[in-house]
Assembly symmetry: D3
Homo-oligomer: 131 residues x 6
Amino acid sequence: MPIVQLVDDASASDEVRAVFDDIRATRKTDFINNFWRAIANDPKLLARTWADLKAIMATPGTLDPLVKEMIYIAVSMTNNCEYCIHSHTAAARAKGMSEEQFMELVSVVGMANETNRLSISLQVPVDDRFK
Amino acid sequence: MPIVQLVDDASASDEVRAVFDDIRATRKTDFINNFWRAIANDPKLLARTWADLKAIMATPGTLDPLVKEMIYIAVSMTNNCEYCIHSHTAAARAKGMSEEQFMELVSVVGMANETNRLSISLQVPVDDRFK
Amino acid sequence: MPIVQLVDDASASDEVRAVFDDIRATRKTDFINNFWRAIANDPKLLARTWADLKAIMATPGTLDPLVKEMIYIAVSMTNNCEYCIHSHTAAARAKGMSEEQFMELVSVVGMANETNRLSISLQVPVDDRFK
Amino acid sequence: MPIVQLVDDASASDEVRAVFDDIRATRKTDFINNFWRAIANDPKLLARTWADLKAIMATPGTLDPLVKEMIYIAVSMTNNCEYCIHSHTAAARAKGMSEEQFMELVSVVGMANETNRLSISLQVPVDDRFK
Amino acid sequence: MPIVQLVDDASASDEVRAVFDDIRATRKTDFINNFWRAIANDPKLLARTWADLKAIMATPGTLDPLVKEMIYIAVSMTNNCEYCIHSHTAAARAKGMSEEQFMELVSVVGMANETNRLSISLQVPVDDRFK
Amino acid sequence: MPIVQLVDDASASDEVRAVFDDIRATRKTDFINNFWRAIANDPKLLARTWADLKAIMATPGTLDPLVKEMIYIAVSMTNNCEYCIHSHTAAARAKGMSEEQFMELVSVVGMANETNRLSISLQVPVDDRFK
């Protein structure tokens, strides 16, 4: 259950509605997912977050859009963010991620968490070569 | 400072030496980084971890090797593992990651951590569409 | 679903009942929330935790009680503790936190998580001035 | 040791210099701390992060500026971000936080981390009253 | 809700079936829990993970099997992994963990999380004696 | 570097000195490690934390003292608390933990972190049998 009301279209202020409209136009869909409806309780947080996400995720850069989604999923899995795992896995599948690729991503995330913890457990010193 | 002695070549048992040899052959370098020298205190842990890492990271699959390194870095950043950030960033640079790509990866990791926390903070319910 | 039985009033031992009575008296309410009923399975853990919480949260100090609740919420959001986010947000609202304040708290928590991760990602050295 | 070069004034591009100038003007000091010099390797990340931080932390809102710094510190402690703990504690002290207030903040952070973990350990269900 | 289909016996490939058979034989039960059915979407991940788990948890070593389960639970509580807390607590109870022992484990996990956070909050330097 | 001054014996208040004396008497050593000297900046936090630690770790219960230290280490490794890993590993070695036992503990911590992350990644639903 959410801690705040989800802002629906009818109760959205003009400031919120403008962001919702841009999300719809950018993503070419009428669907606004709950994340945006939740943070819309603070219109400035909504505007700032959407502007940042668009700049990072939807603007062509040096990384493939699907690679960026997979990095997003890896972070979400490591943070144990249920919502984020579901929403970004859906986004990655929509961008063409196969089930084999997803399971290979999961393998890397599991392995990385194991070896991260081994390094931390033994307080392994960083090799000079890596500095 | 490490919690255990790092195992050098001179003091390595035959079981450890066999893994070190395979790391050198697989990576085509004489360099064995401290992570392996630390977990070599448990030869079975060393053998198992290297076998798993080779299977996941060095075997051709459905993901590009550089993409897998970037996922590994994203997890290491999120787990705050100093050793792992250094070693896997070095590995990714060796595989051709540019500084622009690295900074874009960092942007995604930062943004993902922010929106993960916003989702968690507001306990946003997963949209039916994502299930 | 809880891992242990929640201790109801009827089955509470004298030691548990004494703590429940003090919670009720201190908070001026008959309501005992599930957290206390769960840890009551270890009466000493219950007594110790309640004594500590009362000392830290309910005793006048140098920080405003509402500020302390907001710090508690920030930790709970960062730890992804669903129960804690719900219970301490309820407590903060009862102490007068407005929805605008809550959303501003959420903004700070989100931003802090992003810049924390950027600092960690780039392994930024602490400035001499801060030491 | 940082993963990237820290951008000094001499090598800063015009885009980076403009942000550095605004940081100096806003904070009324010539000092630019390492965090900004590190993320300056991606001028857009620098510009975006500074704009967001200024909007959240330096713009009058419903929370006291010192309270916002203490929330920032609580998140940084929970995330184990050494740089962030040092820089934001310095900022809070500059805004008037006393040592008694700091130690009381630390007490709350410690207690919250304990009870968060107890709630998670026992999988305590959220009380209906809190929903 | 899972992100992938759980693999049931009817749809299991020969490679998956062989692992399921070994889990059944090793554990002397017909029951295969959902964790294995989920990772079975990647048969190699399934085989590798089961081989590692059997080597670590089911092979006699220097630690008592119940102690190893309790260490597993402590990690799972600290990572906030609901599934893992439930499955490993069930396993530990099956190996003879009493409710008093479980609550004492919970006390240690809570206390460790508090003092961990105090150490991190104050950036306590490691004593020379511990190095 | 610590965020606060470490309290040495000369500058300790009577309240702090009383706790230091009890630590020395309980542990049968003159050595007070830095953790206690750091939290001594808040004498009530010092007194409360020592009382809790003594009750949990030094009082005979249903778990072996060495097992409790190993649980403490597992939490500290998972939380990436450098100070805590060093101090509790030293304590466990003093209580008789062998290097083989330590490495086996590290193996379990690594494995648990991997399977925790796999469970979270795939959002595996808890089996009815475990509830």
